[in-house]
Each structure stands twice: as C-alpha cells, then as structure tokens.
Symmetry: C2
C-alpha cells in the first residue's frame, strides 16, 4: 500500500531481508536478535546495522509458533465492573504487575470476567496456546477455574489464599493478622463491645479478616456485606438495631466502613467517642471520610510483584513449584479509632 518494490507488500522487513542486507544467513541474524554468544563481532555488527537501517522488529506470531511460547501472560479479574473500579486495590495490583512484566518484555493481557457468558468464553480462551501463564485476582471460593487451568498446563498464581488448599501457588496479604491487629487495638483502647462487618465469606479476604476478628474477641456480633458501601450501611443498621450497646466496629473493607460511618452519624453516634470504627485496605476514601478512617494497610504493590515472580519461576524452572507468600499488613491510625 505504501511501497511495492518487488512484490513484497508494505509489511515490515523480515529476518530474511535483514540477513540479505547484512550479507549473512538467517541463522546468524536470529542468533544476534536472541543474544547468542556464538556470533563473531564482525557479523554481529553487520547484522545490527542492518536491523537499525531496516527498522526490523521480530514477528511475534512467527516466533511464538515455533517456540510454543507467547511471551504474554493473562491477568484475570473475577469481578463485576462495579467493584473493579470502586476498589483502588485492583488498580494498584494491575499497575505493579504491569511494571514488572514490561521490564521482562512480557505482554500483559487483561481479562475481566464478570458476566457468566464472559466467564465461559474466558475458560475456553485460557490455553497454553494463548498465554504462557495466568495471574488470578479475587477468585471466589468455589470457582473451579484455577484447577481447570492447572490441569490444562497453564501455570497459575492467584491472589488470596484458596478456600481449599490445593496445588496452586498464591500470594496473599496477612488478612487474618491485619484484622487481629485492628481488633486488638480496639481492645487496648478499652472498647468492650466490638462488632464486625464481614466481607463475602466465600472470598479469601472476607474469611481471613473475619477469622482475625474471632481470634481476638471470639463470637462477637457480626453482620455480613459484600465489601461495598451500601452493604456496609445496611450491615451497620442491622448491628445498631440488634446490638445498640456496641462501642466499636471493625469493617472488612474501607467502603463498608464508610457506609457504616454514615449510618452511625445519622443515628446520632459520635465517632470515635461513642463508637470506634476501623476499616481495611487503607484506600483513598479512608482519608476523606468524616472522621478519617483508621484502616489496615496491605502492601498491594509488593503483592503484585511477588505474584509475577512466582509465576515466572514456575515458567522457567520446569518443576511445578507450589509456593505461597503471605505479606504483612499494618494498621494505619487516623481519626476513627
């Protein structure tokens, strides 16, 4: 379309063309491109010059066809659109995963599986044919996909401890420990009637954070939400109705804590004087609620990096190393507790 010298059409130059220009064989060019040591300095330079002059870029598809590697890895998010953009958590993970991958010259294919039909399509899609491995975010408890993938030979690392321990590597924040720290802090502050608003129990963070709560106060009053703001408000209303004497609430997410805060205010309770509130995630909204939210910070960026590290290790070393990494959390004190 642009130039049609000979009959090769507009397309980018090929290995063969570079070889011709440099006066060497295809093999040599390939060796240079892939950084093999078995090339004489003279040849290497000639090839390099030709590459620069022609603006040669290796054809990914051709390479993938023979190497059986696509050099791209999938980042799969199982989440409704709504939550995906409501949760700063995802953005930060995506961000950190991306930067590691770019440095390694790998492509990041983002897949958001929300609607059931997208789910199904995705399942067919995730083959060794298409990606070298997969990073799974916010998998729900009973989801069979991780197992399916592993079975198909697609190396996988997930974020969040699986509900049922299996052969799958994962990276997680210490949800339980973080929750424990938060609730312990409430106890130290002299709170005596501590309730909790939990996340979905079929979710690793939901469960872990609840367990941490129980570790400290045992069977306290609990209402469940879905990590979202509305659900937090509803849970808080329920708690207020059934346990009006509570003097502290530990919410398993900042969004739920924010919802709870509003209900608390409407009910005439002062925070933190009458009721202390602690959230989880240390998200942006935590700094903007009234009062600012004391919250549990998780090292999200580090988690992303670690996930990639584990996956790449799995890809390189053939032996299927099943590894788990649990990263520490930290309580960030603000005004609400």
């Amino acid at each position: 379309m642009r130039d049609q010298h000979s009959n090769r059409s507009a397309g980018r130059p090929t290995l063969e063309e570079v070889a011709a220009r440099a006066g060497v064989g295809r093999g040599t060019v390939s060796r240079v491109v892939n950084g093999s040591a078995q090339v004489s300095p003279r040849a290497r330079e000639a090839v390099q010059t030709a590459i620069d002059e022609l603006g040669y870029v290796p054809n990914r598809a051709a390479r993938a066809l023979v190497t059986q590697r696509t050099d791209s890895i999938a980042l799969v998010v199982f989440e409704s659109g709504e939550r995906f953009f409501a949760e700063p958590f995802f953005g930060r993970i995506v961000q950190s995963v991306s930067s590691v991958l770019v440095a390694r010259n790998l492509q990041m294919v983002l897949m958001i599986a929300q609607a059931p039909e997208e789910r199904r399509q995705l399942e067919g899609y995730l083959t060794r044919q298409h990606v070298d491995g997969a990073l799974l975010l916010s998998v729900h408890g009973d989801d069979p996909l991780p197992a399916v993938l592993e079975e198909r030979g697609v190396p996988t690392v997930r974020a969040g401890r699986p509900a049922h321990p299996g052969p799958i590597s994962f990276v997680d924040a210490d949800n339980r420990g973080g929750a424990r720290a938060a609730v312990s802090y409430l106890v130290e502050q002299g709170r005596r009637y501590i309730a909790t608003i939990t996340g979905p129990m079929d979710t690793a963070p939901g469960l872990g954070r609840y367990q941490g709560y129980r570790d400290v106060v045992g069977d306290g009053p609990a209402a469940s939400g879905d990590f979202g703001e509305i659900s937090g408000a509803m849970a808080m209303e329920w708690l207020l109705t059934n346990h009006p004497q509570l003097d502290a609430v530990f919410a398993a997410s900042d969004m739920m804590a924010a919802g709870a805060l509003q209900v608390l205010r409407r009910s005439g309770r002062r925070v933190p004087e009458d009721v202390a509130v602690i959230g989880f995630d240390d998200s942006v909204v935590a700094r903007h609620t009234q009062p600012p939210l004391t919250s549990v910070y998780q090292p999200v960026e580090q988690m992303g990096q670690e996930m990639v590290r584990l996956l790449l290790a799995k890809l390189d070393g053939e032996e299927p190393v099943e590894r788990e990494t649990v990263l520490p959390t930290r309580l960030i004190l603000r005004g609400s507790a």
Copy 2:
C-alpha cells in the same frame, strides 16, 4: 506428558488431527472453524464432533502468522503509577473497553507507560506485528507517539482531544461544556468572585476545563495543579493568599477539589456558605468529602465503548476514517455548591 500416541507430544490437538478424526481435509476443518458457508451439513457436523471430542482450540500464533492479524488491541495508559490508581477514571475506562472487546473476541493488552525507559520500549513494541490497533489514554500534549503509530500503520484512537488537531480519531467528554455548566451554575447561585484550580495545561482535559471556565468568567484567578490532591491543596493556599475575597472555586478534578476543601476548612471558611466548591469527574471521593462534592459527571463507560467502536471501524473499513466523538457531561449537585 499426558499421552504420546505417535510422536506428537503433549501439545493441544492441531487442525490436521481434527481433520483426520473427522475424515475430511484441513481445508474443510478450517472452513468450519471460521464459519464459512461452503460446507455441507454432514461435513460440518463431523468436524464439529471431532473438535468437541479433541477439545481443539485454534492456535492463535499460527493464524496470526498467515492472516497478519493478531486479534489483540493495545490499551495504552500514559500515566505514572500513582495517578493510574488514584483516578477511578482509568478503572472505569478499562472496564468498559474490556467488555466490548471480549464480546468481539479480541484480546486487550494493557500497557502502562510511566518511566521514560518504559516509554521507549513501548514505542518499539507497538507495531502492526504485535497488535492490530491501539487505544491511547491520557496522552500529554506534545507526545509524538500517536503520530508515530499512525505513520507505522497502527490504527489509533485516543481519549481526549489532541492539542494540535491531526489525523487521529478521538473520543472525548465535553470538558469545556462541563466546566462552563459548573461555573455558570456558580454564577447563577450568586457567586461573584470565582477562582479555578486547573489541571496540567498540556493535557486535553486540563486545557478544556480551563477554557470552559474562561468562557463564563473570563480572566479570573487561576492556580494550576496536576489533578492530584496535594496539588489541589497547594493551589488553594495560593488562591487564599492572593485572592482572599473569593467566594467560589471550580477545580478541574475531584481530587484537587478534595485537597482544596481541606485547606478551606483549615482556613476557617465554611463550604458552601463562604466558599462554594465544584469538582470534576464525579468520582467516588466526591461522595465522601465533607461536605459532599458537587461535581461534573462524564460518561466514562460510554467513552470506552465509543473508542472501541471507532477503532474497530477503522480496522474493518480500510479507508482511514478520522472521526471524533464528544460526549456530553452533566453537573451532579451535592453539598459543596
């Protein structure tokens, strides 16, 4: 590794194997897979059966090699990690783009170009060889990349009106109109001394929102920020020092408005009684500031969809349709103005 009948190793079944099993030729299987009409019902059924039994999945690389199409498109975000996850805007765009792409059976490759060296790498990477087209997010004014890509034959659609009109399609929210609506509203409410906190002027939204402000009040007091919270606070301080008599502020982003709110409160001003504040983006934080922020909503999801639509049109119809779409914004009233 699983089965080694003949010497074909563990790999997924190939077209040829499907053909053999169905008792037809490669061509016929290919026709079935690609939905050609030129296949007898009998053959089609036989092939379909074989595909199901073998669990055949076409090899993307092989197909790409011959069709010269990768069936994947890049979503490029030019933004520091920090802003990427601070801005709900991106998450929502990503989300909506993703869902359209999945429906069309296209892969979304997310690239975040922050550090300069990542920038450079990306430039080499974005070839027709690797993706069929690119969606560009938050390009800065003087960035040559869009032009480079277009020149290399990579169809491109960007979000945000380019600083210098060029041959590139774009989708944008009506930043100028939205700003105009916001500032007009302030005027209607009887505000007489309206300042603005602008975004980066080398950015389409930054510029557009400032222009909208000027459309209504002309040369009012302006301080510039970078869309982030801290910069909003600093800008507000500057404004308060130099224009203590101001009675309204229009900030070009919610985050900056949030920063401004804090400074205003510290300075003893009541919002909205003494000073009205309006933000832009209608983001999550807008609902959680004190008071909740009146803000300009932009139809982010729709923008994402529209970007994909334009890009696909460009890919299909060969003629390079340079199109632009500007989507309307809407003022959302809350407590701050």
